[in-house]
Symmetry: C2
Subunit: 191 residues, 2 copies
DNA sequence: AGCATGCCTGACCGATCGGTCAGACCCTGA
DNA sequence: TCAGGGTCTGACCGATCGGTCAGGCATGCT
């Protein structure tokens, strides 16, 4: 089935995103994706080296945004870290709902793949920032629950519009995160 | 390898719980479980009819507790529904951390299996109760985020002792859930 | 016309999956 | 001593997985 415009590659990427989000990475076969696109499995593997390459490419934008968010957290402490991390992560989660849904539940094993090796440390830093770098168990637990809940929630609320989901999540984060003092020794704007 | 005591069945169940929680239901093969126990795959299938039977049996206690929690929610409205659902679900999540981790991420497909057909509706009612039966998007979103976050959080904090995790989660739920009025027609002392 | 190139496909591969089956082994009771 | 039943296993099955490969077809350049 020859395409008039060679946009097959993009269709494969879009179909893979939908299928991975719906049934997981392991739960989706290359044949599933090919069937949804309307091409053969061999065509999928013509455009992408292998199944993992398909995954890494569709995750790339979300990972780039996660990386830049992580960069913007360096040096922040206390409430500044909490608020920046919360607002940034909510933005990310709302924008990349499907991509986050892909990782849902398969995080541990997918993170073993070299392309995602650094994500684990980023998410740990994110959790730490959400806890305001506090060592108190309550703050750490709240941060993880919020992080996981937002990821899962965005994936589930695919039908809720962004401008309704985002403020609701921001308000929730404001209530849920344990208040921590601004730990900077000199209480200027910067640490 | 003959066991002196025929406790192989229990060992298989325990190994399956660990493996399912670590790598997911689909991500764990019967051979994986057999290897961890130290028996053959055929032995696993001698004690359990098939892979699904293994899953349903190890999930049974958690499901029973979920069912009874669901029963205790009927007729409750407003804050009473919120508080009962929150406390009950936190109890359940803390106690059955590994079992909940099993379902992590594979919820949608696992729920298709007949043994779990009713869980979806229970979890929807749970979400509704956590939202205080409010139709406001903020309340619904907060309920889902908390539900998902607690499930994920308990699965992750396997090393945190129960009596530390439980109060932290309860405090978090108290902060995070949107306050709703007590919808009972007669407004007593409880707001 | 002839050729190269990009896109696509059916046929095929080895590995692994869940599951079946005949039979070996061991204990117990008659 | 032997029969029987509970436990366990290696060998095997069909299905499906991710991935490879040679070749077909349309197009564009020379």
């Amino acid at each position: 089935m020859r395409r008039t415009e060679p946009e097959t590659r993009g269709e494969i990427l879009a179909a893979a995103t939908r299928r991975f989000a719906a049934t997981g990475y392991r739960g989706t076969s290359l044949q599933d994706i090919a069937t949804e696109v309307g091409c053969s499995k061999a065509t999928v593997l013509y455009h992408f080296a292998n199944k993992e390459a398909l995954l890494t490419e569709l995750m790339a934008p979300a990972i780039a945004m996660l990386q830049s968010l992580d960069d913007s957290l360096v040096g922040l402490t206390g409430r500044a870290a909490q608020q920046t991390a919360a607002a940034g992560f909510i933005d990310l989660a709302v924008r990349f709902r499907r991509e986050i849904a892909v990782l849902r539940g398969e995080f541990p094993e997918l993170l073993q793949q070299p392309a995602f090796a650094h994500i684990q440390r980023i998410s740990e830093r994110m959790r730490d920032a959400l806890a305001g770098h506090s060592a108190q168990p309550g703050a750490r637990i709240a941060a993880l629950v919020l992080l996981a809940g937002i990821s899962e929630g965005c994936a589930e609320f695919v039908d809720v519009p962004d401008d309704e989901l985002r403020p609701a999540l921001l308000a929730l984060a404001g209530r849920a995160l344990e208040p921590v003092p601004d730990q900077s020794p000199t209480q200027d704007k910067e640490t």
